[in-house]
Symmetry: C2
Subunit: 259 residues, 2 copies
């Protein structure tokens, strides 16, 4: 083991056997010592859930002489980061990377994203962190095209040091490598999901619902992640976990709270 | 039905049968037409999870002539708000209130909170929203003491209109009504949980873990929610769901992304 190598923790929300995480393992292994702790099943849409009312299991998947230590965990991405840092890793990692998610985590999707919750959990624990997502929901999505960019972004973050309490939300357009125009630092587009509930009946006649929806982006700003992705760029949104709406405090302080 | 009454949606994360939500129903019924859609089981720590890989069930609990329409839903608090707005309510509610949570959602807890995810989901959908939490985990916590404050905050929000894309995170100290010093607009304290994993063995000898931890607040600012709560005040943090760390964009734009 080269002592000068950085130590990188890898997690995701699609589960330890997803192709996206294997791409991350391949890229990170070239530049760092790597430990993987990822969910044992898909955890998409889990937001920043943690498991306190159920037990957690941790299973070592890698063999004794494998170059990368790989564990699966029965919990959420946030659980995976917590248990990795406290029970698996010998020292605090230099970086945590999460993904590569099969599907977008741009705009408001960051709120629902298990991938980003893994990265944000690391950020809360004082570990620099990046979440990576590719705009392709296909299980067999082509992650080869974006490998050089994943490497570039990771090396830049390791060298320049991320700002304190800031996590990167990186989304890749579904394009060939040579079609990608470059990387843009963006803000989160103001968008939402217009839900559609599909009402069906069980064979026994009981109503049930499937949640789905259409993504609605009414924010056409050219500084948004949606604009970047729609115009051939990789979007990077710096994300914070201090949710305070500082711009609103003055107005709220003018209300009659204590009369 | 009085047509001038506002329409309020109530949800929570402790489940439809929790004492905390009954307090909200009692207070809101005095000032509004009320619809309740809440999880059919506790959903604490669920963060902003949504259910897209499983079916959702919606059960009407209230009887035909009950003054309040009450449903339980098999999903998360965010699911409850989505299904309430799309499948239950005849029009968009004037306000969504979530809670009253049995336990704190101050500081970084807002990220893990199912209660706040219900309120934030409403905010994303353009509905003014407030999450209420009492710093008492006891199922039999005394919610009577804080009723007048819940009413006051709700009426103020209905009258003055909340700032756009801002949701209120309200936390109450565990005090008698007359001991509470007042209401303070605060920022989220910079704090974290120092995890403790309790490692045990199943009867069959397999290791498993319980996640618990100690809350560590290193932020002693007198403008924080933690300071307010520790000094006898009700804390209100305005919360946003645009997670962009705008202060970090300048620094990130100085990096060599496209070389």
């Amino acid at each position: 083991m080269n002592k000068t190598k950085p130590l990188i923790l890898i997690t995701n929300d699609d589960g330890v056997s997803a192709p996206g995480i294997n791409t991350l393992i391949a890229v990170m292994s070239e530049i760092a010592e790597v430990v993987v702790v990822a969910p044992d099943k898909p955890q998409s849409g889990m937001g920043h859930a943690i498991t306190t009312n159920e037990t957690l299991y941790l299973n070592k998947i890698s063999l004794e002489n494998d170059p990368v230590l790989i564990y699966s965990c029965s919990g959420t991405p946030a659980d995976c980061v917590k248990i990795a840092v406290n029970e698996v890793m010998k020292r605090k990692p230099d970086l945590c990377v999460s993904g590569i998610n099969h599907g977008s985590n741009s705009a408001i999707n960051v709120i629902y994203s298990g991938t980003m919750s893994g990265a944000i959990e690391a950020g809360i624990e004082g570990i620099p962190a990046i979440g990576f997502s590719l705009l392709d929901f296909d299980w067999n999505a082509n992650f080869e095209e974006i490998k050089p960019f994943v490497r570039k972004i990771t090396l830049e973050a390791l060298e320049k040091k991320l700002p304190h309490d800031v996590v990167l939300n990186v989304n890749f357009p579904k394009l060939k490598q040579k079609e990608i125009k470059g990387i843009k630092i963006c803000r989160q587009a103001r968008a939402y999901w217009k839900e559609k509930f599909h009402k069906r009946k069980t064979p026994q006649g009981r109503d049930y619902y499937w949640l789905s929806g259409d993504f609605v982006n009414e924010d056409h700003g050219e500084d948004t992640d949606e604009w970047a992705l729609n115009n051939g760029y990789i979007s990077i949104v710096p994300v914070q976990f201090d949710l305070t709406a500082y711009h609103a405090t003055q107005q709220l302080n003018s209300w009659n709270w204590n009369e």
